[in-house]
Symmetry: C2
Subunit: 357 residues, 2 copies
């Protein structure tokens, strides 16, 4: 039986970059007899336009039945005025929640070929390799009650709830400690325990779970300080684990330290290693359809898919090495172009990786 | 009648840096006949040690009766194991709330003399001058319900509430637009309106208030993108307005872009211009008592006090210019020392500013 990969291109540059990633994965599928089949479906604004919802039932069914989901990006100005419940982002958030993808791995890696792209001084970021583990199905993103209500005095009030149960904290902590064990065995848990009770519980549970991982060095940091430290001395970090909202912010800071967010993949995993894989950048509607988007973040997301869901570390490494080779050869989409390198299109970059394979 | 200034030195390096700031303010008080009197009180860990509470009633009374509060810093490892309600930070949060100091102004300015201290490339940060306006008495910091409860299944659950009323958003928006009017007339409101209903309301109210300020150019940004943009191209910002929690994080990023958080003051204001003034850095217990802390952030907080509460812009500028002169003359505490400058102590820096006056 073929293993099904759900391919959701989404909006904006999504279709262009996903096409290159599928090209690469298809090649390996044949070359290494991985036994994969691909099935596409609509999500986000594209799904809303066709079906009036950002996550049609058939797309959700496909995701549930597939081994893994490969996603491009969702959203764009076209859908910004829509009501909350049918906005493209809701499609993404619903997949995360419906598939129980609670563990979001966001590596921030600086490619030596691109050290000049960072706005930080080379000595501060060269060799940067951080992994952010973000809790993805809880916290203030999904907490109830939430909404906007009318008070008796006639004014409106907006409210959201930040909530975590012990078990939610425990499972993301285990995921983070295990990730740290495979890396440099340092885990920093980020919270705001001096102000927020829910992160007081967070700190307590992460500390408890840490007793199962005596080989991992655990530290705790307040979120404001962590944001500072990412700018001041990012290489002090190995793995960071944090809540959904803090993870959204910190992972974007970490990504921007590299100067090339067009290069960074992500994995969102459930308890059994099933996952959704997507670039961390958005749908970039301003450059959509021009063939200039960087497909490497999506191609590297395929490498994560091979590693985390399909248990094919060798195939994952082949992709990562091919990306390196393409960069060494000087291939650059416009976002990472610099003097002395060769500008290529979206599909040109896909081809460069394919050639290197 | 003398105008009373409440002086709360707090913990760690608090007493040392506040002493220098009071030295500077006392000089101007005589020199310019400002008619100020000073009264000290305990806050934070020091107050807990003496009275069992981080904000004794007499300290709160003094703050309420004073024209303005000058604060050093609170907290330290000594008090970290205390229960939430009596932790040093609670003293600070209670003053903010009891005095209705809803508008927190946090400038991030890069001093040309210190451009090398930034971890960012000089061309990215030179001339940086951002003002962050953070809502300070609402949001998730103070929202009810909050706490940790035991669920029926035996596990603990932590919860906090992010809540804003229209009127709370409206007053901080006015404060931010007015601030922008006195600067470069650009205001960026930061929210997470694509996920959190409360910030959907935030965006709507800020937009409405903006109609009263047609001369100010208003934009909106999601918090994850704002964190990124602060690292990518911080000079695109003039004034940023945001919620309590997002402001805590973003103002620390902005501060760290300058590389010298020992230089940055802050003001927390009520509706009538009464305020608390403090450096943005913490109590730095590791260097307390050694006479090496940088007093300039606190001295510059005095300049803000003169400008915003006492309506003495001339006196404020005299301090700011004196700080510049001291830096030009090469005076540096260890945190900002570099080759070719002169290392001075905490009081040595205070004297350098005093001499320049
Ligand atoms: C699009 C948005 C809902 C999403 C999030 O906030 O999680 C995005 O910023 C991300 O980080 O994947
Ligand atoms: C000490 C702490 C409670 C405080 C806050 O989170 O507001 C501090 O980080 C600040 O920014 O003033």
């Amino acid at each position: 039986m073929a293993k099904k990969i759900a391919v959701l291109a989404g909006d904006g540059i999504g279709p262009e970059i996903v096409a290159e990633a599928v090209k690469v994965l298809s090649f390996l599928n044949t070359d290494m007899a991985l036994g994969l089949s691909f099935e596409t479906a609509l999500v986000g604004g594209a799904a809303y336009d066709a079906f009036g919802t950002p996550l049609p039932q058939q797309t959700l069914n496909l995701c549930k039945n597939a081994e893994a989901v490969l996603l491009g990006a969702v959203g764009g100005p076209k859908w910004e005025a829509l009501p909350h419940a049918v906005r493209p982002e809701r499609g993404l958030l619903s997949i995360r929640s419906e598939l129980n993808l609670f563990s979001n791995l966001r590596p921030a890696i600086l490619y030596p070929q691109l050290v000049g792209a960072s706005t930080l001084k080379p000595e501060v970021v060269s060799g940067l390799d951080i992994m952010i583990v973000r809790e993805l199905t809880g916290g203030i993103y999904f907490g109830q009650p939430r909404g906007i209500r009318l008070l008796e005095n006639g004014e409106q009030q907006g409210f959201n709830t930040l909530v975590y149960n012990e078990s939610e904290i425990r499972r993301i902590a285990h995921s983070a400690f295990k990730t740290a064990q495979k890396r440099h065995k340092k885990l920093c848990s980020v919270d705001k325990a001096n102000v927020l009770e829910v992160t007081e519980l967070w700190r307590q549970v992460v500390t408890e779970v840490g007793k199962d991982y005596p080989d991992v060095q655990l530290s705790h940091m307040y979120v404001d300080n962590a944001a500072m430290q990412l700018v001041r001395a990012p290489k002090q970090f190995d793995v960071i684990v944090t809540t959904n909202m803090f993870g959204d912010i910190l992972s974007d800071i970490a990504a921007m330290l590299t100067g090339s967010i067009g290069m960074l993949p992500s994995a969102s995993l459930d308890a059994n290693g099933k996952g959704m894989y997507e670039p961390i950048h958005g749908s970039a509607p301003d450059i959509a359809g021009q063939g200039i988007a960087n497909p490497l973040a999506t191609i590297l997301s395929v490498a994560m898919l091979l590693r985390y869901t399909l248990n094919q570390p060798e195939a994952a490494e082949r992709i990562e090495q091919a990306v390196n080779t393409a960069l060494d050869a000087g291939a650059r989409t416009p976002d990472i172009y610099s003097d002395g390198t060769t500008q290529v299109s979206t599909s040109g970059m896909g081809d460069a990786v394919l050639n290197a394979l």
